[in-house]
Symmetry: C2
Subunit: 248 residues, 2 copies
């Protein structure tokens, strides 16, 4: 079985200016990992047509799935849909199904030009329904186009995730210890060399106030049937070095 | 004056797996924006040498400044320093100054092989001092190499920011309103067309529980002397449409 991969494109000047802390990519990342889809890259880019086009094309070629968030609202700076139409040489036109949805959702007179703009999409897309504010996202080839507002994006993502082909979930075990990372390093290096099909990461943290810290050791694998042997060996090593451990 | 630009590379499997929510890029983004440096791209990549090398080279050519976080610790999965050495055809060797710093910081016997590894860097770098856990980052050409632990990264970043060439800070005014984005859209579009040297962004938000929302309208410009006229026009427009507004 080939590994399913993904890339995320976050589209929005507001993230690059620091105005907004992106949380969409973390939400998608967690769900992909537990669905056996390996997220290989996240890119945060400006609301600029040429950037969107080149990034979408590249990601679409490189990864099994591409998820974009942002830039599909009703205003002049929302240019994701037309950029994606250009990226795939599709017409950018009113999607009849999306038009019907919004026509029904808005009462008389509320369905103005800006809202109609949200129904313009590349031709030949499949809609992603939006149970909160009605305006749909869409799927074109392997690209899933979602809005930027987290609460809406999250509901829509969970819905599309149901229909995605999934892989074997990545196995992960995390062990916390009070030993320093540099103390652990040579031992972890040896254990890593012995178990080449898993990845052993060490993530130190530091409490600024108490000036104390520790390390989370994460063992992960997309292919191994069990991580128990690696886990056992790491715990023995921590004990041997006089450290405490707990499973996270 | 040419605009100063920047790119951020976040290096770390733990962000891509969703284990860690990246906050480093938002911290750096905010500080760059207020320092008149335009952040154009953020990329989050795996702990893989070829990815790091190609991304660092590309960013170094494209942007005035490049900031990397992550992958300079003592363990086997910390490969940022050697990757950057390769990217710029430099030797990867013990940095004598860094060696002295860590030798002094650690008491006898504590300065083990793994900690010594943290003093291996590309040749010809300038150190970025670390007032918390001693192990320095470094500067090579226009690339600033920082650790991944947020509290340590932040202190080190603030120190290097003092010495960076700065631009005219980006002017930003944010106006909140209870009107819908789609109501505002055609008016904002007109105002945007009139003031081409600023960028008018609209950021809707939605409260899932109360099913209410609003829009933050952000006017920003790297070049205009004042945003007051644009602000006035947007406020008049909100009032005209029967909306409430407040400055954020």
């Amino acid at each position: 079985m080939t590994l399913l991969t993904a890339g995320i494109l976050i589209i929005g000047d507001e993230v690059l200016s620091g105005r907004t802390q992106d949380t969409n990519s973390n939400f998608i990342a967690k769900n992909l990992t537990s669905s056996g889809i390996k997220l290989e890259e996240i890119k945060i880019i400006q609301d600029q047509k040429n950037h969107i086009i080149s990034s979408v094309k590249l990601f679409s070629e490189k990864y099994s799935y591409v998820f974009t968030t942002g830039g599909i609202g009703p205003t002049h700076d929302d240019i994701t849909s037309q950029s994606i139409a250009e990226a795939f040489n599709k017409k950018y036109e009113i999607n009849k199904e999306a038009y019907k949805i919004l026509e029904k959702y808005y009462t008389d007179g509320e369905f103005n030009e800006s809202r109609k703009r949200m129904t313009k999409m590349p031709s030949d897309v499949q809609l992603i329904y939006n149970p909160i504010t009605a305006a749909p996202g869409f799927i074109l080839n392997n690209v899933y186009v979602l809005p930027g507002v987290p609460k809406i994006m999250e509901v829509m993502f969970i819905n599309i995730l149901k229909n995605l082909k999934k892989g074997k979930p990545k196995k992960i075990i995390t062990i916390n210890t009070n030993l320093y990372e540099s103390k652990l390093a040579p031992f972890l290096d040896d254990i890593q060399k012995k178990y080449k099909d898993c990845s052993i990461g060490s993530y130190p943290y530091f409490n600024f106030l108490s000036k104390t810290g520790g390390v989370n050791i994460a063992i992960s694998s997309w292919t191994m049937d069990s991580l128990d042997d690696v886990k056992k060996e790491i715990i023995e090593m921590i004990k041997f070095n006089g450290g405490n451990y707990s499973l996270v």
